[in-house]
Symmetry: C2
Subunit: 298 residues, 2 copies
């Protein structure tokens, strides 16, 4: 890349983002990268509203394509998860042009549908990691700083600790992965370490998602499963009798999938970056990083 | 069949049934069929408890096989849905013997996993219909009377009104069908009218389930989709902007699946019987029905 500044475009393929998020993210980026502040462009679609969604299906598709197909952007950053990517992913993928391949894509939760589709289509810089909306969490600056450090510098300290160039990885929200199994979006995860996290579901639903995921023939070809955090688990009536790790171990054992322990991902500020595929040591978005950016504000 | 009375075995492959259900069902059966009361045997496993489930996985599997493989039973009636069939279905199916094929199976909701597996395995008398636990609903006697009338007499008035010998049908809870897509349990529904119902989910989850179901290549070979009732829909934040019928029509249109209107099924006392496959006009369980049983008590 020949330009001095990393240019990031933010779109919201699912639920609406609040304008406050943009203000806070821009302020944080300025404080983290004095002298080489990345240019972060929030597409106006992020703040649109149409029922459940950040604009109707066509508006969200168009916004995604405007950023993804614009060669001046280095990264497409998903502003928020929520729900709705499944409604626009097909049109979005069919509208991508060659310049969309030369940039990074980062997000998680509902955006996992887009990550899956992009990875399946051979995109090389797809990552599971914080969204802009995470700045509203306690210690949310750390989450957003981590996403920026990956987009700007591919900073290795942003990575989930077990990620290495020696193995392929992928990460998903369980419910999202469950809902793309058996569809044209399902990526080939043969030989990958698959990391799974969940939020806001009852224990029986976690069990059901893991039944589904580990029963799929394609998923059974992963090299192993790691369990991220399952946050804000809702009450189970009666008590389920197992915790999420018991459940993950149970289904891995039944499916003959190696259980590889816990992963440092989840719906929280500690959510680390998991690149899809092998860790690539390619050029970061900025040619000459002047100094290692601080990951948290003063 | 050569015996005079229909013999029905009740098992609970998922959640626990209350003993009160058995008492009330037996009383109802006696009042509906004076002189030829079906023998209804509640396996003790129905009342067992193990965390979320009506006994542990092995207990539920064994109980199912004891009834299914016993030639003296004409029907296996699932006592309740809830959650848990996915944990025992594989072992259950692998333990079935020849005599299991000569009987009827009826249930819905979570039991849909077993219905799917049985239908896929070529069982000919598999039906989506009320469970014993439905007697606890308002007007629950009507639901249970309907299940009995199907098991005892294959009474045509118990059927969902569009069911006919001219077309194949299948029915599922949306969430349950979604969770078996892409697994070895997924049945071939080529050319079937697929009826779908839901309970206790937010509108965005109904949308997500229908995205998943209609995106599956196997499901796209159905002859059409009918929407049952979506009961006890939980709040959507913000308002979703479409109702369940709008959503079903939307996904049918996108998938090129014919929309065939509403189906008379759901998590309620009006839930009609939907046989899997073509409607068979085979011998009912009882050779000579003496009189048409009343479907509701006096």
């Amino acid at each position: 890349m020949s330009k001095e500044k990393c240019r990031i475009g933010v779109v919201a393929p699912a639920s609406r983002m609040s304008p406050e998020v943009a203000v806070r993210v821009l302020a944080l980026a300025g404080s983290l990268y004095p002298g080489r502040t990345p240019e972060i462009v929030f597409h106006p679609q992020c703040f649109a509203s149409h029922g459940h969604f950040a604009g109707d299906d066509e508006t969200r598709t168009r916004a995604f394509l405007e950023i993804a197909n614009d060669a001046s952007y280095d990264a497409v950053w998903f502003g928020r998860g929520g729900y709705g990517s499944c409604r626009m992913v097909e049109a979005a993928m069919s509208g991508l042009t060659e310049s969309s391949r030369r940039k990074a894509y980062i997000g998680y939760s509902d955006a996992g549908l887009l990550l899956a589709a992009l990875y399946r289509a051979g995109f090389e810089a797809v990552a599971h990691g914080p969204v802009a909306q995470d700045i509203l969490r306690d210690d949310g600056d750390a989450a957003v700083g981590r996403a920026l450090a990956w987009m700007v510098d591919r900073a290795p300290e942003t990575l989930e600790p077990t990620v290495s160039s020696a193995r392929k990885t992928a990460a998903f929200n369980m419910t999202v992965l469950s809902h793309l199994l058996g569809t044209p979006l399902q990526p080939d995860l043969d030989g990958h370490v698959l990391m799974l996290e969940e939020v806001g579901e009852a224990m029986y639903r976690i069990d059901r998602s893991l039944f589904h995921i580990t029963s799929n023939a394609g998923i059974r070809r992963v090299s192993g499963i790691m369990l991220g955090r399952c946050n804000a688990i809702t009450p189970n009536e009666p008590d389920f009798g197992m915790n999420e790790e018991d459940i993950a171990r149970y289904w891995c054992r039944r499916a003959g999938i190696p259980w590889l322990g816990r992963a440092d991902i989840g719906h929280d500020a500690d959510n680390k970056i998991v690149p899809f595929g092998p860790l690539r040591t390619a050029e970061p978005a900025q040619v000459a990083p002047i100094e290692r950016a601080r990951l948290t504000p003063p």
